[in-house]
């Protein structure tokens, strides 16, 4: 691996100061499961690596008074797997954070790292989108918040400006009769990058009979994870019983803008966008109807 200096900082301000001083040669190190692999393969370079894991508040999962969650940037997927509130009240997010990498990747990988890596196939981002998560960014001019669906701008690119650090994610409280799910397709059953992914969140009304609102986001079928507003617009206010799954699949396919690459074909991805959206919608409806009942605690297998 290329040579660099290592800076284990203990405050956000220290990190900001280093970023300001070292400019483009500095890289933030969080879980490291993407960054170190990229540095080894020469896909990214660094003169200074700033480790933010020792900043105490960034490892916190705070339950907010309104029922939302403040998720520190350095919280690992493994920590979240053991977090009862995360698991029970944010099922779409739990689905995603539980299947990033294998167990040993989970021990290091963070949701914020997955977001900032900005892979079109990132598992967490579609789920973050449908859960309406805000990204909290610290920078030279203070703190700002951006909605997660606007965070990624291109493969590997985000709205982060030079010198900025994502410090946390703010997850709003789920409404009543809420359910969400994230599903992805991989050729194996573990240790793969999503060929396509779909997250769906629904808010039902009328004792589970009517859609209040629906949010859908797709992964790995465009240059960034895609929010699919057309499905929400089509379903809002409609009775659940009248939904045409074929129509939903068709809307999802129409929204997908995939390419063919070594991990999948264009046709396959376009098709999977429909399949996964419908499957995730079913799970989300089911969870909303049982929204008092938590999803299973054990691994999905």
């Amino acid at each position: 691996m290329q040579a660099f200096d290592y800076h284990p900082v203990s405050t956000v301000n220290e990190a900001l100061a280093l970023l300001a001083r070292e400019g483009a040669g500095a890289r933030l190190l969080n879980g490291g499961t993407d960054l170190l692999a990229q540095l080894k393969e020469g896909r990214r370079s660094a003169n200074h690596v700033i480790d933010i894991k020792r900043i105490p508040e960034l490892s916190e999962v705070r339950e907010l008074q309104d029922g939302g969650i403040w998720l520190g940037a350095a919280v690992t997927c493994r920590t979240l797997s053991h977090h009862a509130v995360w698991r029970e009240r944010f099922p779409g997010l739990h689905d995603a954070t539980h299947l990033i990498g294998g167990v040993q990747i989970q021990g290091r990988a963070t949701v914020v790292g997955n977001l900032c890596n900005a892979s079109p196939a990132a598992d967490s981002i579609p789920a973050l989108i449908v859960h309406r998560v805000q990204v909290c960014i610290a920078g030279p001019s203070g703190l700002r918040r951006v909605p997660v669906e606007g965070f990624c701008t291109a493969p590997g690119r985000t709205v982060l400006l030079p010198g900025e650090v994502v410090v946390a994610l703010e997850v709003p409280p789920p409404p009543a009769e809420f359910g969400a799910a994230y599903l992805r397709f991989i050729p194996r059953n573990e240790m793969d990058i999503a060929v396509a992914g779909a997250a769906v969140a629904v808010e039902l009304g009328g004792e589970g009979s009517r859609f209040q609102s629906v949010r859908v986001a797709l992964g790995a079928v465009g240059p960034t994870p895609l929010a699919v507003d057309a499905i929400g617009a089509r379903l809002a206010g409609r009775p659940v019983a009248e939904v045409s799954l074929d129509e939903i699949a068709s809307l999802a396919r129409a929204a997908a803008r995939p390419i063919s690459d070594l991990r999948g074909t264009l046709a396959q991805r376009r098709h999977l966008a429909g399949v996964l959206t419908v499957r995730a919608l079913r799970v989300a409806i089911d969870r909303a109807r049982r929204s008092v009942t938590p999803p299973p605690l054990s691994p999905p297998l």
Binding site: P187, A267, Q268, V275
Partner: protein, 764 residues
């Protein structure tokens, strides 16, 4: 728990004391505690780190290599290119892995005039640290003249295809075509009158198949260390399947006498045929020689392993088979085009024999073509060539059986070869256990349990592998406490220390725990062929057996002298020896026998009675019609082991071969872009099965003793990988009604096949 061996031998099996038990392997503790030293674990004083510069292009002429900046970098001790290799003779030699032209072997180590694949080695450096070595690589300038890559059989056979090797002419069993070609050779096996046979058929199925390049996928990357002394003596530490194969390859390409080279084996982290050809060892020797005789260690990265070491061939295959209304085969025809990679030497020869070997049919023709393409040079991979062709043949047989409304096992029983029947190359089969395997599967719980549920199907396929004997040597030293030091030079790649020590213990009539096996270097034990070809437990086992017999005879001699009785009155009794009233336990006999002089015996063997192996397999799958994903629900492998010396390791071979076969069948493939760059050179995207992708793999060991071995052993290492692709293709067909004719049967391919059938389009 491990399955119960289904013994189907007709006569009562002899009662062995050690053979057939399941002791802990002698090297086990070292391997579970992390103490065992593998190729990359070696460290020597002053050792330098080597790195290899590899071609980013698939096909190009090298105009110039400038290493001056790299040589000038502080910390760099040596830089070598093909200019440092002696000019190799244009001569064909068998150096452990079949015949190879030495010039090609040399060019594959360090590219000469041309690079022939993405990842082709161009230069190597040795430096005082890895990071300096990597910096040095970046300073080497190579000027290329890019050439159009030739990536597949189809492209290679085009009349205007670029030629990879200007001097390559198709060899047709000793006759060279006049014009140069990308087809290195053509072979044919034939018997009977083909078209007459097809005229007798009630049904003829004629299909074309494609399989992709796949890699052995051993978890330990290649690693080699070399130190040259000022007097020219060379020591090489290598993670290899065959230390003598390394010695002969290094000697030939570097022009050194074998007496000057000692090869020391490290533990080896998997090979499956891929660690026979050398890639690093000659470079390490050159670097050490140029670096002031310091030791140099070279370890490949995973990407280098995938881009630059031997995968096995992709192939285009046509199979045409006719059967009469009763299911009896009337004619069989195969056309096999195997991609050899950059240099000739695909396993198409073995494939041509495997093809129709399980079928008794007196009318067949098999044509095989060895085709060069701009991919890494193919090397052996477990039953080389077998899986490709069996996928094709077993698919067609299944289609015939289904069309004729025959049970797939019954179809194979009707046509099964038996002792005395001939393979496609007309060699007669000796005693085999194929019919017994088919019967064992038919009687298995798996096959007798109906499969229910939607999108599910059950497939059956079979496979033949000829196995190999080869040469082995070993020595045994009797210690005065009755224990035996046992020196072999067959690399232990999966528990052979145990299976060999067990045969020596059995032969000598002592406890397994009293045999202390040790893997020697090329100077300490005489010649051994590679651990490969399913030969070690068979052939080196023969040597172990002979050592036991010789030691026993020598002990009787010495006891006879001591006791002053004729030697033929000294007999084995219980755990020791007796003559008349006199009797001693083995340990006491050893003490007495060694009083005057130490006792050591040695043996060399070259057994030829390696019995052929058959395997029959059955899989239940479920296919997700929306995603094309295939889930293996249940898998049973039946295999004739002759005699399972250590049943756990026989089961392990069976399960491991099936696992590799399932990976090959469902997801593994080399993905190249149009420029010939390998896109998936990592274990993330070269998708080998994980623990989540496989079910338990049930094993049924059939034991039809091989008359060519004292304990009836047949090789068990390879045949198991031959049937899985066909087994799964047939299961997928029964589950979905579609027949996949290309490997891997990955989700996008399954989806496309399902869409073809249904008329669905994701763009509608």
């Amino acid at each position: 728990m491990p399955s119960v061996p289904a013994s189907s031998s007709e006569t009562a099996a002899p009662a062995w004391r050690v053979v057939g038990t399941r002791p802990v392997r002698p090297d086990g503790v070292d391997k579970v505690t992390g103490r065992a030293l593998y190729g990359a674990d070696l460290s020597l004083p002053g050792m330098l780190t080597g790195r290899v510069l590899r071609s980013p292009l698939a096909h190009a002429r090298i105009k110039k290599i400038d290493t001056s900046a790299a040589r000038a970098l502080p910390g760099v001790r040596a830089v070598v290119t093909s200019a440092d290799l002696p000019r190799a003779a244009d001569r064909i030699e068998d150096l452990g892995e079949g015949a190879i032209n030495l010039r090609y072997l040399s060019d594959n180590l360090l590219a000469g005039e041309k690079v022939l694949y993405h990842g082709h080695a161009i230069a190597a450096v040795a430096a005082t640290s890895a990071s300096i070595a990597e910096q040095a690589l970046a300073l080497i300038r190579v000027d290329y003249e890019p050439l159009a890559p030739v990536m597949t059989v189809t492209e290679a056979l085009k009349p205007d295809a670029p030629l990879l090797l200007a001097d390559l002419h198709t060899d047709r069993m000793g006759q060279r075509d006049a014009a140069p070609s990308n087809v290195a050779s053509h072979l044919r096996h034939e018997r009977g009158k083909l078209e007459e046979g097809f005229r007798k058929a009630a049904l003829i199925i004629d299909r074309r198949f494609r399989t992709e390049t796949v890699h052995q996928g051993y978890i330990e990357p290649q690693a080699a260390t070399a130190q040259v002394q000022a007097d020219g003596q060379v020591t090489i530490w290598s993670s290899t399947q065959g230390i003598f194969a390394v010695r002969s390859q290094v000697a030939e390409v570097l022009g050194l006498p074998v007496s000057q080279i000692k090869v020391v084996p490290t533990e080896i982290g998997g090979g499956f045929g891929g660690k026979i050809s050398v890639y690093l060892e000659p470079l390490a020797v050159l670097l050490s020689r140029h670096a002031g005789f310091l030791p140099v260690r070279l370890v490949m990265s995973r990407t280098e392993v995938l881009t630059s070491t031997g995968p096995t061939s992709g192939s285009d295959i046509r199979i045409r088979i006719g059967a009469d209304a009763e299911g009896r085969l009337t004619a069989m025809q195969a056309e096999l085009y195997y991609e050899a990679g950059a240099y000739p030497g695909s396993p198409v020869g073995a494939a041509a024999v495997v093809s129709f070997a399980p079928y008794a049919c007196d009318t067949m023709r098999v044509d095989g073509y060895d085709v060069v393409v701009n991919r890494p040079r193919a090397s052996a991979y477990r039953a080389p060539g077998g899986t490709n062709v069996a996928f094709a043949v077993e698919s067609v047989i299944d289609e015939l059986a289904e069309s004729l409304d025959l049970d797939p096992i019954e179809m194979r029983l009707i046509n099964a070869v038996r002792e005395g029947d001939r393979r496609p190359d007309n060699l007669p089969l000796s005693k085999i256990g194929y019919v017994e395997c088919l019967q064992a599967l038919r009687q298995s719980d798996h096959y007798r349990t109906p499969l229910t549920g939607r999108h599910r199907g059950r497939g059956v396929a079979c496979g033949y592998w000829g196995n190999w004997g080869g040469q082995s040597s070993a020595t045994a030293v009797l210690n005065s406490d009755g224990s035996v030091g046992f020196n072999v030079a067959s690399t232990d790649i999966g528990g052979s220390r145990a299976s060999l020590a067990m045969q020596l213990a059995e032969s000598l009539g002592i406890d397994y725990s009293q045999v202390k096996p040790r893997i020697g270097d090329t100077d300490s034990v005489s010649y051994n062929d590679v651990t490969g070809g399913s030969r070690t437990t068979f052939a080196t086992g023969w040597a172990a057996y002979e050592l036991g017999q010789k030691l026993s005879a020598e002990l009787r001699q010495r006891l006879a002298l001591l006791w002053e009785v004729p030697v033929d009155t000294v007999t084995r009794q219980g755990d020791g020896f007796a003559a008349g009233e006199k009797r001693v336990g083995f340990a006491e006999a050893a003490r007495l026998a060694c009083e005057d002089a130490p006792l050591m015996v040695s043996t060399t063997v070259h057994p030829k009675g390696y019995g052929a192996a058959f395997s029959v397999q059955c899989a239940d799958v479920e296919v997700d019609p929306d995603t094309g994903k295939v889930t293996v629900l249940r898998y049973t492998i039946v295999q004739d082991a002759g005699k399972a010396v250590h049943p756990s390791y026989v089961e392990g071979q069976m399960q491991g071969g099936v696992a590799q076969g399932i990976g090959w069948a469902l997801n593994e493939e080399y993905v190249y872009n149009e420029k010939g760059e390998l896109l998936n050179g990592s274990l993330l995207d070269y998708r080998m099965p994980t623990a989540c992708d496989l079910p338990m793999i049930d094993t049924v060991i059939v034991e039809v003793p091989n008359p060519g071995h004292p304990y009836g052993v047949r090789g068990v290492g390879e045949v198991n990988i031959i049937p899985p692709a066909g087994t799964l293709a047939n299961a997928i067909h029964r589950a979905t009604g579609v027949r996949l004719t290309a490997l891997p049967m990955s989700p996008p391919r399954v989806l496309a096949a399902l869409w073809d059938k249904s008329g669905y389009s994701p763009f509608a």
